[in-house]
Symmetry: none
Subunit: 205 residues, 4 copies
DNA sequence: TATGAATGAGAATTCATTCAT
DNA sequence: CATGAATGAATTCTCATTCAT
């Protein structure tokens, strides 16, 4: 029972499940499909995972930790909160581009109240959102961001914007804009708004 | 057959399904539960709907049309694009508050690629997003919004922000802020950004 | 309850059921299909028939009586047992040709042990076979037919030959031979056999 | 999958299905009954068969091949076409006596247009009938059988006679005559007819 | 550990039959 | 008599999970 994680098989199954879940969705995916994709017997999966739910949760925790570490390591190099948000957007989109299957699972399956959002306390995801919240609070403390902004709401607004844009971006085959452009657009909306008037922002390259 | 939409039973079943799907998610919901909730026999459901999938799709189409009509009728009364976006935010959140079950289904089930996003062309949802796109383009034409904004990306960013905020807002029992406040926050972020120095923002960067 | 038979609806339903059963088989046929074919409501069928089984049995009894009467009236006009058998063959095939649906039901559904051959004592069918038996016994008494022939076996052999030939004849669209020819062939096999040698039979017609 | 025909379970299920189908008929038989009869779980059946239809078809193909091989191996030892027909009759009845359940299924279920005769091309059965046709043609070539006989019709007449006789023979519990006698009767009718005056038959008619 | 055949609870769906109108 | 919406028992088939090898 204290098995897993280190085992090679564990990782192989996680990878197979990621692919299958992304393709068909959690409820549509069959253990036998995951087993086949992983090149193991159905029963083998139950040596490494409690049950089907456990695969999804493990998969998520596993990947989310990596995502979290990566994001933190990139943000920490910057000081300007505005730059940090831009970096967040870029890193997030980049992650999604490189890891479409995982992205699809996070966006689709783990959002579902159906099973997880309610029973499973999604702490890693909260941590991820809190990176944004911290940047915003930092910006408010330094006087860069408006005091009127509610960090708890703003973090979700920013993440939601990124997420929704990336959703169609992931699902559509023809990519119209590159990551850099899209990330910049979103963080610009969020930082300066879409209103033209506000001072000399028009120049703002 | 002929989907007697006018029938009272049809509406009762739609209502029951809305409640059950919202509570448990589509795949977790059983026909027998919907029947029980509706106070009809299991078989009765199949008089009004082709199958389980058809319930979800019908439910969505049915409600989405109402949502769409309502949103359009509210937007049309305003002329200022900025006010329109604010109105959109408020109306959207209001709808969600009054119709939590339906909101949950739209946010969770119909987003799923797992079954519907791929097979079922979600046109009503596209129309909904296009309301935002049209407002943005209108604002750009009148010189109110920046020309650099890409309406197709911005509409998703705005909707995503709203959606993500409303998600936790729907799911959490304790409501910290009222609709008006939250809607204003989000449309403000989007219109003017979170950066403090509006006016002198030109210096920024 | 002392309803039916005389009623026009009763006959309409019988006719509709004949068509539907012939097309799809008993178990594959739905009450609603019969009702539709008959142009009545589903419930109406239960005014004239006890249940689905009753339709098949009634249909059979009803038709079989007519078949029986017709066959008897034709046989009675002849005196030569050999001619009678030939007439039987011709009349049987003729009936089948004119009444394909009914024929298919008799051949297929009423043969089934699945429900009827075991529970339902098929007396009309026995009577029909007994016409043949009587002809054979008559022929034996007059010295025309061999005494070694067992009427009870021979009747089935003769009917079986007719039935099997008519089966493919009914089912196939392209009719290679006409009734007269086929009826003559079968009764000839039965009367004189297929062996060439037996005396001057080669000349025979 | 891959229909492990060699598997012991596969054969056990075929045997159970044969029994149950023969007893109740295809549509009246329930998967759970077959499973119970076979001593396996319902689900196990679906490891070896696609669905209920597949059981019947497999069962038929499986058995029919054996029947066909057996019949051919017996016929080949004889040279006289008349003897071959007699042998066919005896072998057929013998098979039915030893394998009543299978016989009932072939006679009843596989005859049904209701489902199988239309969708499923019953080739094995055609091959079986063709054995008779070949014997008749052989007899005609050697001058033993009348040239006027149409092999395609005669094969069905002969088979039909055998089949109908065997049907009541299978279904009735009290057996009046033994196989040998019945087989001889039928082949005699077919070879020499039931008419008494063989030799002077030329006068007849 | 690994396997994969076997299990059997569970779910969607069908359809003969009823009965209030 | 006629209707057809409603019923719900019954059935096929699925698939997560187990366990003997």
């Amino acid at each position: 029972m204290a098995k897993r994680k280190n085992s090679e098989k564990y990782q192989i199954i996680i990878a197979a499940a990621t692919k299958v879940f992304a393709q068909k969705g959690f409820y549509q995916s069959k253990i036998s499909e995951i087993a086949k994709e992983a090149g193991v017997a159905d029963g083998t999966i139950y040596i490494y995972f409690e049950n089907k739910d456990d695969i999804l949760i493990s998969l998520f925790e596993e990947q989310m930790q990596a995502v979290l570490d990566n994001m933190n390591s990139r943000i920490v190099t910057l000081t300007d909160p505005a730059k940090k948000l831009e970096e967040f957007a870029w890193t997030h989109l980049n992650l999604i581009q490189k890891n479409k299957d995982m992205a699809e699972i996070i966006q689709v399956e783990l959002r579902q109240s159906g099973k997880f959002m309610k029973e499973y306390k999604n702490e890693k995801f909260s941590e991820y959102l809190n990176i944004i919240e911290n940047i915003i609070m930092e910006g408010q403390e330094s006087g860069l961001f408006k005091k009127s902004v509610v960090p708890n709401v703003a973090k979700r607004a920013f993440f939601g914007a990124l997420d929704e844009v990336s959703r169609c971006w992931v699902l559509s085959s023809r990519r119209q804009y590159d990551i850099k452009t899209v990330a910049k657009q979103i963080s610009d909306y969020f930082l300066d708004g879409i209103t033209a008037s506000s001072g000399a922002t028009g120049i703002q390259a």
